[in-house]
């Protein structure tokens, strides 16, 4: 394991009763890359994400993040350590404004306590959080929409907001669950640019995605799962020409 390895998934198995959703899957993610986790429906991609982010605990195997095992930790602890996920479809605080959504994202670095809250001694913390939130909104191009309710945003902006919430917590590893689902080509292009921008700011990205065009254009390395097992790994070109992958996708999808 090299020094630049940020995440190492080691022989992870996840069973639900008799169903084996993940079967001894191992792979490693290097710091600074955009890694694609792909595979046909039911391959276990989302299950893998949930294991890494602490929403599930692996039945066996280990997950090492920055040299430290995070197996069995609670989601909020894993977020503290720097792994933050976004969700499939659009998961936002719909009832809060764009700005408030991002303020919640600042939680990790804007701790307050009851005493401070009651006596308003947390101004400095709040100012720092406000500053951070505006910076993130600026970065993601949402600053003009900050007073709108999250539910009022168009799809593309909602996805950008979901990423903004994650970025506000200053992650080192961002797990993106189908960030391009349901987007038109224009929105997809914009989101690809944003994703590259996030990577360039020093955040490692792992994404699960079905949109092959986006995945091939964006990722430098791909990990392919099929029926819960590791099928192949390689650069987009390798994967495009891998017979087993083409077979798994029934010859379609990858071109």
């Amino acid at each position: 394991m090299s020094d630049s390895t940020i995440l190492k998934v080691d022989q992870v198995t996840k069973r639900f009763g008799g169903l084996t959703a993940l079967d001894k899957v191992s792979f490693a993610v290097e710091a600074g890359e955009i890694r694609g986790l792909i595979g046909p429906n039911g391959a276990g991609k989302s299950t893998m994400f949930k294991n890494i982010a602490g929403f599930y605990t692996p039945t066996s195997g280990d997950i090492i993040y920055q040299g430290q095992s995070i197996r069995g930790q609670k989601p909020h602890t894993i977020a503290e350590l720097g792994i933050v996920r976004t969700f499939q479809e659009t998961t936002l605080f719909q009832e809060l404004t764009v700005f408030e959504n991002v303020l919640v994202g600042c939680h990790k670095h804007a701790r307050s306590n009851l005493f401070k809250a009651i006596f308003k001694l947390d101004r400095e913390i709040e100012q720092a959080a406000t500053h951070k939130a505006l910076e993130v909104l600026e970065f993601m191009g949402l600053v003009e929409r900050r007073d709108q309710f999250a539910s009022e945003l168009p799809l593309g902006s909602q996805r950008a907001l979901a990423i903004s919430i994650a970025l506000a917590s200053e992650p080192s590893l961002l797990l993106m669950d189908e960030p391009f689902a349901g987007m038109n080509p224009e929105e997809t292009n914009h989101m690809m640019e944003l994703t590259r921008k996030v990577r360039d700011s020093g955040i490692t990205i792992v994404l699960v995605e079905h949109d092959m065009k986006a995945v091939m254009g964006l990722c430098n390395y791909l990990t392919v799962l099929n029926f819960g097992q590791l099928l192949a790994e390689g650069t987009p070109d390798d994967i495009r020409n891998n017979d087993r992958v083409i077979e798994a996708y029934l010859g379609g999808g990858v071109h």
Partner: protein, 323 residues
């Protein structure tokens, strides 16, 4: 948003009104005013519990925990109200903290049922253990404090005392709700997994809301027992809990002032139809159904409508933009 001077004038008018109010009332109504003021704290503290989306059925019993604490401490140690009131809150908060461990393994309906069962268990303890809780007859002989020559047994001084304590508690609750803690409580309610994904320990925040709410309703229980002088298990049964729920739902629970409007309006309404005697519950029930049918957002939504009528610009501002 209202301008700041307008708000200050409005608050001052409200304060003067509240201070003068008892002098225009008969004794019976002064009594009612004190209980209403205490109930305002009951619903306002219940609101902070509901902020995380969990509706508990133990709030009334927590008020009783505060009340029994105040009564026992007063009778055993002859400590005055300045000690019994904070202790009432602290003991209620401590019991709530212990209950968090079993209760917050559950959510939604399971939490509702679990909190109800826990509450009944506490209430049965008061009935079963005659020593020290006094059984079904409860405890009596709890006196209000004496400060100099002011006798707080009188309704008007006790009302002022209650008003001061409740005012302070409401101020603290308001500050909490409008701080980062309040924002996180909201976020836990709307999307717990998303909050967790950015590092919010949802269990801790649910517990925190429950403990804060229990503290303040415990104080309310202390205020009540010092005025009534007696406390029985039946004061804190399901009946009272249902009233708390009705006040909060009819008042509305999306704004800080919603539950307060609910308890004030419904208490005044109930009092105004007192002369109807036996058909009074039927009318009360009918009004509840009508209000929920036509004002599903609660009485608080009327405030928003009136504001919009007077406001020149269309409603597009954020209700919480001053955070």
């Amino acid at each position: 948003m209202n301008s700041k001077p307008a708000r200050i004038v409005l608050s001052l008018l409200l304060l003067v009104g509240l201070l003068l109010l008892p002098h225009f009332l008969q004794f019976h109504h002064q009594d009612l005013l004190i209980f209403l003021t205490i109930n305002v704290l009951v619903v306002a503290s219940y609101r902070i519990v509901t902020l995380t989306g969990e509706w508990s059925l133990i709030h009334a019993v927590m008020m009783g925990v505060g009340g029994y604490t105040a009564a026992l401490v007063f009778k055993q140690f002859e400590l005055g109200m300045w000690f019994t009131l904070p202790l009432a809150g602290i003991v209620a908060a401590a019991i709530a903290a212990l209950l968090c461990f079993p209760l917050f393994r559950m959510t939604q309906f399971y939490f509702l049922i679990g909190s109800f069962a826990a509450g009944e268990a506490i209430r049965l303890c008061w009935i079963r253990f005659v020593q020290p809780f006094g059984g079904t007859g409860g405890l009596s002989g709890v006196e209000p404090p004496l400060i100099g020559d002011i006798d707080f047994l009188e309704a008007v001084p006790y009302y002022y005392l209650t008003l001061a304590v409740v005012g302070l508690c409401l101020f603290i609750l308001y500050r909490i709700e409008n701080s980062r803690i309040g924002l996180i409580l909201h976020s836990v309610h709307w999307k717990a997994p998303l909050a967790e994904s950015v590092g919010v320990d949802t269990w801790r925040y649910r517990a925190l809301a429950f403990i804060i709410g229990s503290f303040f309703v415990g104080v309310a229980g202390g205020l009540k027992v010092h005025y009534l002088g007696t406390i029985t298990p039946n004061q804190f049964g399901v009946g009272f809990m249902v009233f708390i729920l009705i006040w909060v739902i009819v008042g509305g629970y999306n704004r800080f002032y919603g539950p307060i409007i609910g308890v004030v309006v419904l208490t005044l309404f109930d009092e105004s139809i007192r002369s109807l005697e036996e058909i009074r519950p039927a009318i009360y029930g009918a009004v509840l159904i009508i209000s929920i049918l036509f004002l599903p957002q609660g009485l608080e939504s009327i405030v928003g409508r009136v504001k919009r009528l007077f406001a020149r610009k269309p409603a597009g501002g954020t209700p919480s933009g001053d955070r």
